[in-house]
Amino acid sequence: MDVITASILASISMLITALIIYLIYLSVRSSGGSETGLEPYLCGESANDFKDGISVGGDNLFWGSTLATLRRLYEVLRDEVHTGVLNDWLTYMGIWFSIATIALFIATTASGG
C-alpha cells in the first residue's frame, strides 16, 4: 500500500473515530457551560479572596510562558529585523541580491563560463 492511500484510509478511520467520540460526548454532556480555564490561577488560593484584585486568566498564562521562552527570538525577529523602516528592508534585500550575484559569478567563472 502506498503512503497516500494509507493516509486516506487513516483519515477515514480518524474521522469515524472522531464522529463516535462526538456522539458519545453529545449523549453524556451536561446542559450548562463550564468556566474552567477562564478562572484566574491563584496558586491554589480561593478565588473568592481575590475576586476584586487584578489577575491573569489561566489561558493567558500559557501564552505568557510561550512568549517568555521565545523572548530572545522575538527581540531579534521583531525588534531588530522587522522594524517597518524602508531603509532597513532595503539593507536586507540588498544583502540577498549581493550574495546571489557573487555566488553566481563565482559559479560561472569556476566552470569556465
Binding site: 497516500i4 486516506i8 477562564l38 525577529l77 544583502i95 546571489a100 559559479a107 560561472t108
Partner: protein, 526 residues
Amino acid sequence: MFTNITVGLVPPLLIASAFLLPIFTLAIKRKSFYDVYALLTSGIALVITAYNYYLVTYVVKGPIVYKFGGWPPPVGIVYEVDALSAYFGLMISAIMFLVSIYSIWYLRGRGGYEWYYTLLLGLEAGMIGCVYTGDAFNLFVMIEVLSVAAYGLVVFYRTSHEAVEAGMKYSLIGATATTIYFIALVFIYGSFGTLNMADIALKSRGGSYFPFSGSVVGNIHLATAIALALSMWTFTFKAAVVPNHFWLPDAHPAAPTPISAVLSGLVVKVGVYSIIRFTYTLFGMDSLSPIANSVNVIMKLLMLLGALSALTASALMIVQRDIKRLIAYSTIMHVGLIVMGASLGTSIGIEAALYHALNHAIGKALLFLSAGVLINVAMSRDIDAISGVGRYLPLTTFTLIAAILSLEGLPPFAGFFSKLLLYQAFIDSGLIVLAMVLIISSAFALLAYIKLLYGVYFKLPIKELKKVKEEAIYLIPLLTLTALLVILGVTAPAFVSQVLKPISQELLNPMNYIKAAEEVARVISR
C-alpha cells in the same frame, strides 16, 4: 503545431472589460450592474481557461502557441500555454470567480465599487497574462499590469493612513523590483538576441537555429548569471520570500478582504510560477554547463531562503494580534515551503510544490474570506475583539476551521497530502533538515492557529452581539472552497499522477515547449 485563439483571448478580454467599466459609470450607477458585469467577465475567463487546460492536457497533450498580430516568434509576442501555464491559469480564474461572488456581499453599502471591479479585472488580466505569456518582455509588461492593479487595491481605503503607508511602501519597492527585472531583460536580450522564452531555452541548451532569430553575442554564461541574480530578486519579491517579504504583512491586511485573499492566495503564486519557469524552462540543469551551474547555485540559495521564510514567518505568526496580519505571515511561511520543494530539482519536488501551491491558494483564500465575515461582524481585526464571534456564525466558523486544518496539514484536507508529498520529496533528496523545517514551522503555526481558533470560538464575546444571519452569497464561495479542499485531499493519488506528473515531466524535459514555438516560426518562414 497547434494554435488556438482561446489561448490569446483571456488577458485582452479582461483588460478590455476593465477599461470599459469606468465608461459605464457615466450612465449607470446601480451596484448590481457592476456586480453582474464582474461576475460575467470572470465567469467567461474561468470557462476559457478551463477549456485551455482541457486542450493542453487531453487534446493536444503539449503546448499551444498563439501569435499576436500574426507575427511569428521571436519577432512578435506569443502566448505559449503548456501544462504548467494551464494549471496556474485555471487556478487563478477559478479563485477569482469565487472572489467575485464574495465581493457582491463585501461591497454592499460601500462606495467605490466601480473602481474596485476595474482594478480587480485588471489584476486578473495581469496574473493570467504572466502565466500564459511565452515572451520574457511580455512577462515584464504583465507583471506591471498586475502590480499597478495590486497597488491601487491595497490603497482602496484611501482615508486609512495604514493602507496609504502600506501601499506606498509596496509600490516603491515593487517599482524597483520590476525595474530590476527590466535590467535582467537587457542582459538576456543583449546576449541571446531574443526575448522569446522558447528561443532563450533553446540557446541556453546550446541549440543554434531558431527561425527569424540571430545567434548569441558575447559571453552568454556570465550574462545569464547576472540575469538570473536580477530576475530572481524580482521574483522573490513578488513571491514574498524572505528577505524580500517585508511589504506583505503590511500590504495584505490593509487591502479589502477579498483582495487580501487574492493577494495572498494568487498574486504571490505568480512569483513562484516565474521562479519555476526561469529555473526549469528558460535555463535548467540540462543547459550548457556554466549556465547549469548558475541554476544549481540559485536553486540552493532559494532552498535556503525558503527554509528561512518558513521558520521566520511561522514564528512571527504567534505574536500577531491582527487576524489578517497573522494570515499574511502564514502566506510567507507556505511560499517558503513551496519554494523549498520547487528548488529540489526533482520530479517529486516539483509535484509537491505545485500541489501545495494549489492547496495553499484555496486554503488561504478560504481563510481570508471566512475571516472577512467575522471582521465584518466584530468591526475589528483584533483577535481579542473577535472573541466569541464564531459562535454567532456556525457555517463561517466551520469553513474557517476547514481552512486552518488544511493549511496546518491535517487529513482529510488537501493541505495534509501536499505537506506529506513535500516531506517525502525532502527525505528522497536526503535533505532531512528541510523535512525538519517543515515540521517545526507547522508546529509554530499550530500555536498561532490555536490562538485564533480559541479566540474566535471558545472565548466569550467581549460584547453582546445581535442575532447575526449568515448569507448564501458569501457562503457559496466559502463552502465551494471547503469542498475543493476535501475533494483535492481524497483524490490525492489520482491528482498527483494525472495532473501533476505530466507537468513535472514537461518541466524536466522542456523540448516540447521549445519545439512548439519553433514549429510555429518554421511554418511561417517557409
